[in-house]
Symmetry: C2
Subunit: 457 residues, 2 copies
Amino acid sequence: MKEGKIEPRTLSGFMELMPGAQIQFDRIIETMRYIYGLYGYYPLDTPILESSEVLLAKAGGETEKQVYRFNKGNTDLTMRFDLTVPLAKYVAQNYSGLSFPFKRYQIGKVYRGEKAQKGRFREFYQSDIDIIGDGELNVINDAEIPSVIYNVFTHLGLRDFTIRINNRRVLSGFFNMLDLEDQAVSIMRVVDKIEKVSREELIRELEALGVATDKCQKIIEFIGIKGTNDEIIAQLKKLSTNEGGMFDEGLEQLELVIKYIEAFNVPRENYKIDLSIARGLDYYTGTVYETTFNKHPEIGSICSGGRYDNLAEFYTEKKLPGVGISIGLTRLFYILNEMEYLNASGSAPADVLIIPMTEDLSHAVGISARLRDAGVKCQIYFEKKKFKNKIGYADKLAIPFVFFLGEDEIAKNQVSFKNLQTGEQVLSPLSDAIATVRACLSKAGLETVISTEKTNR
Amino acid sequence: MKEGKIEPRTLSGFMELMPGAQIQFDRIIETMRYIYGLYGYYPLDTPILESSEVLLAKAGGETEKQVYRFNKGNTDLTMRFDLTVPLAKYVAQNYSGLSFPFKRYQIGKVYRGEKAQKGRFREFYQSDIDIIGDGELNVINDAEIPSVIYNVFTHLGLRDFTIRINNRRVLSGFFNMLDLEDQAVSIMRVVDKIEKVSREELIRELEALGVATDKCQKIIEFIGIKGTNDEIIAQLKKLSTNEGGMFDEGLEQLELVIKYIEAFNVPRENYKIDLSIARGLDYYTGTVYETTFNKHPEIGSICSGGRYDNLAEFYTEKKLPGVGISIGLTRLFYILNEMEYLNASGSAPADVLIIPMTEDLSHAVGISARLRDAGVKCQIYFEKKKFKNKIGYADKLAIPFVFFLGEDEIAKNQVSFKNLQTGEQVLSPLSDAIATVRACLSKAGLETVISTEKTNR
């Protein structure tokens, strides 16, 4: 570092992308916004700072330790650590002004002062959707959520993923049948780790909760039930006592959700019942979701959520049941990048670079206006540099086309039009050059952010 | 408040919009992103939290007092208070990986703990564009900035605005000619208030700086030079000593910038030279901009910026000149809303509400998928409510079309298609209904966020 200068640096655990990568990141956000919009979800944007009393109303333990909390004057402030608590606050606060079911998405940064490590971030984007009911909410909404997620991922270019679905009532009901009501929540936390620990470890942990060995076996058999969705439901029906208890309720919901996911045209290979999905949080009361890359189960869930009975119980007496899901966007981007799943194309800030070869630049400026009117992104290289610097600039930015404008071109109202990918250069009327660029771009526009070929290799 | 509940509230000075208004706000951001993109600017997204040492490298006085600064563990952190300092950090930090000129936009929240008052926010969006050169940057870039701003505002639906342009070298050069070099920066701060204070007050303030009465008169005459851009430039040329000093340099730049703004096709009524624009900050060294609503000068500038010599002098020895402008987006939105300039249309989250009239909802779900495939935003009303609640939901959300699906419609593969604006209802094949909706939407899509009629009344 030079003397007297401050070293420019970014905090550890804070993702700051290079410009080309930022374009890819933004394209992912745009795709999400587009799909959420097609399903009629409202966008929301709540403050990043809230009163600590409001934000930490129900927090405790780990959350309290991780949050960025401080005083400004006499005000005790906390930076939001998720998008669910702000949603709860918003709905309780604006209850009378909202219409229910209230469907919203929010894509925003949240803050957790976790131990910084590779692939873990302290500032990260979450991309959440939720549907909130007033008093009640039809279980069919639980089938819409996987349909939205399916569309988000496929529009991004992902194919090889599975949305895994379970119902906490099925699990709780089953534990009840084993007379394990009191341990149900703790058992679910253990069950939730099934992908991460060995069968022996799982049994040890269950036994530590006071579960008898034969019941451990039954639990492990139960959560291991395999087959098609129809086969799993048939198996579960055999376990039913038909007394309409919690297990039967959960089973009925699960069956309905599976039926309607199909009505939403989600292909069967992209969703399946997985009885081992429990989600650690007590918060969830019905349907639960996780989403995994088929070839990379080690990554764990990239998109999780579920049904809850009471969104805002800390703020209001109103019963506000809901269902939602959250994508950890910053982590997802980090993973996609590490796996080299992202398409390199589409990281250019412009489609065309205009390189003027004359002293007066008015003509070049006029042509840039024509290009923009035609919806073509373009830059003009205004600087007085050597030719190789100008063309090198286009190369470095991966700008696909260059228009050269010399005296000749201006006199004839033409452009020397170079395709940097093929190296081909032709002299052509401006309108032809614009048409060619537009045709190439509309083809390129069909490319997804994530390379489908790569994810399927 | 109910006992045991925490009152859900949002901090004072933090804007949190209702869902319909949020859609309008997001449309403004989308328009900005679209236009910035057409000019080939990279998007950037820097962290909201930075090390205090980095963020406050050049801060002092008011800034230091206003910032949200705190410790987490041993780290001294500050929330960003503008988007310029993070840009300076970014460019210095990533210098070797960037290509210059580096054009970037950033639309993001910044934080200033100012005294909360109507129309003033502590968390607010800035929307910034900057072009950074490596060592030098052609002055023609200074003409591109007003062109971008003109396109942003007109695409939003604003017409009645003026981008006011000046050059600090013209001002400084003039003060030098009056032998007022030493007071130049202080005089500019005073001159900058011309719109807000009386002529007498201005003279008093100049005299307080030790400026003699006859020089005060000359300054006031100078900054009051009126006329077309050509006329003002002609007047300025008369003042030139033709010795190539600072005044002449500034005048040459100003003339070039005005010439190229015209080449960018910005209509003459939307920009003009205003010699009273000084911008308070010492930071600016050449071209300066302010933008005002013609009929509401009392609002002051809604978009300001200028040319600077050294973006990142606190972080690097590299000379990084640049030019940029910033829109205070949250304040702008607040003003547009207060003035009722925003189009009420376009605040609906969906184009179509599907209301199923049967027990089984599979058919409705299938039709929603068809609509979305056609790019139509739609919701299905899944809840078991009375008919008037269902139609009331569409009304409240301002959803323009409703599809009713009863047994009859399903059997005939038709929909009862209601236009809620006209009240008209027809039974029609699904494909016809979709075509009608798309035709109406493409017409509605031409409506700008801001009502042009209203701003011109």
